[in-house]
Amino acid sequence: MIEARNLTHIYNEGTAMESCAFTDISFTINKGEFIGLIGHTGSGKSTLIQHLNGLMRPTAGTVYFEGEDIFADKYDLRALRGKVGMVFQYPEYQLFDETVLLDVMFGPLNMGLSKDEARERALSALRLSGLSEDKFESSPFELSGGQKRRAAIAGVLSMEPEVLILDEPAAGLDPGGRNEILELVANLRKERNITIILVSHSMDDVAKYADRIMVLNKGRLAFFDEPRAVFSHVEELEEMGLAAPQMTYLAQKLNKAGISVDPAISTVEEAKAEILKAFNVK
């Protein structure tokens, strides 16, 4: 569905501030997949995802969406942005309108929908986002941080994108808020079969939800594989300043202690099943 071919991005090319965000990255993402994108700070994650809906132009290489080159001259980037939704880091800073509902209608209206249609979509996106109904008509600036975040995510959902890219949607929230946002994202895929690309710092979050994990390291694609396969490279991950999920470490410790479990487990559920199996509990 989305294919990146030999993407390279260099900031401020040709000046003293030149810095390379990433080089020669290629991958293909299929419809309906949940991709976790992970990497140390500064590894180029935010820069990379902004190429996928044409917000940034690559220095070299290109991106194909459903077989079409999105950086070709005649390509309709605005239409693409309706299909590939992007939730930026700290999206609450983009709220601007008088009421939450109006703000969420901004995207659909830009896509050329009528007021009524935009309203319908906005309401359904807001309900999906889990914001309570009595907040729909209040000013976005009167909401709490977590509520603002929901409203901002709804602002992208209301465009009903086929692909949703989220840059650390849970950053700066308390653990409860984190889980709620991540559950919301996971639900989206279940209910609407949206393709998801989730940027995160937390291996545990990514391990829990992603079908495949993309690991960026210093501007290069280090791994792009299923979680089990990626977490089998614990040492390499640690060298990149990342860590494996806590359950993977637990499995290692158990194995060392003589209790044999699958060393590549990554979520609490898997760990539970493996441990029960090891102790022969039915």
Partner: protein, 264 residues
């Protein structure tokens, strides 16, 4: 998208110009700007060009980077140049309806254009080679005598350094918000004036809110670290003149003298 604004930006390389004392550079910029208004002869402009070119070369800032800053004044430049061409009395070249272009006008317009360009380039060199901190340090020191007549020099300098420091931050912030709204289908480029102005609302509202938030955070952080204005404040790196500064001053004086001599 907005990274073309070079005014107030620092270009981090090491060069003689970068290493000069900020006071020297301030004086240099001042002298250069004054000299542009002193001279009325071709030779004066030639000398100014040579001087400017030499400084740019020594600063090791790429010319491409400096001229990028000129984009911001293109409109102003076109307006003032055409006003001069058409509104100066003298021998006509051609007429365009009620408008009459004259040779004298063309000449003044040419000088005017060069003056404007040099003005902008000259001052960008200052900011490109001096960090905002150095710059305000220099200003504070050079203007120190004003404190005797109760001008709050330190406070003004502090405000200036904060303002300068905030330019790139706000540019970056604008860029971010612009991208976020573009991702929601906003269109900042096409449409008439009214449509364009309307399109700015989703950009300006979040920008102002974030500017105010940053300002209040900064005030809080400064107070938390016991900032209470200029009295008794010492510098970590006090400004000190070196030999290169004296050489620079001598060159400056020679330049200014030459400009005054060939004034006509």
């Amino acid at each position: 998208m907005l990274r073309d604004i070079t005014l107030g930006q620092y270009y981090p390389v090491d060069s003689v110009i970068h290493r000069l004392d900020p006071r020297t550079k301030l004086a240099g910029t001042f002298v250069f700007l004054v000299s542009l208004f002193v001279t009325k002869s071709i030779y004066g402009y030639v000398l100014a060009t040579v001087f400017l070119a030499a400084v740019i070369m020594m600063s090791r800032v790429p010319v491409k980077f400096i001229t990028k800053g000129l984009k911001a004044i293109v409109v102003l430049l076109i307006i003032s140049v055409s006003f001069n061409i058409f509104l100066t009395e003298g021998t006509p070249i051609f007429t365009l309806g009620p408008l009459k272009a004259t040779w004298e006008g063309l000449q003044t317009a040419g000088f005017m254009g060069i003056r404007l360009i040099y003005l902008v380039v000259g001052s960008s060199i200052l900011t490109l080679t001096t960090t905002p901190n150095q710059l305000t340090g220099g200003l504070e020191k050079s203007m120190g005598f004003l404190r005797k007549i109760k001008v709050p020099v330190h406070e003004i300098a502090m405000m200036m350094s904060i303002a300068l420091r905030f330019i790139p931050i706000l540019v970056e912030e604008t860029d971010k918000i612009m991208k976020a709204q573009t991702a929601r289908g906003a269109d900042f480029e096409t449409g008439g004036l009214v449509k364009k102005a309307k399109a700015m609302i989703p950009l300006l509202v979040p920008l102002f809110i974030s500017a105010f938030r940053r300002a209040s955070d900064l005030a809080m952080a400064m107070e938390a670290r016991c900032y209470h204005g200029g009295a008794g404040r010492t510098k970590m790196k006090p400004l000190k003149y070196h030999k290169r500064d004296f050489i620079a001053y001598v060159i400056l004086l020679l330049y200014l003298a030459a400009m005054i001599v060939i004034k006509k």
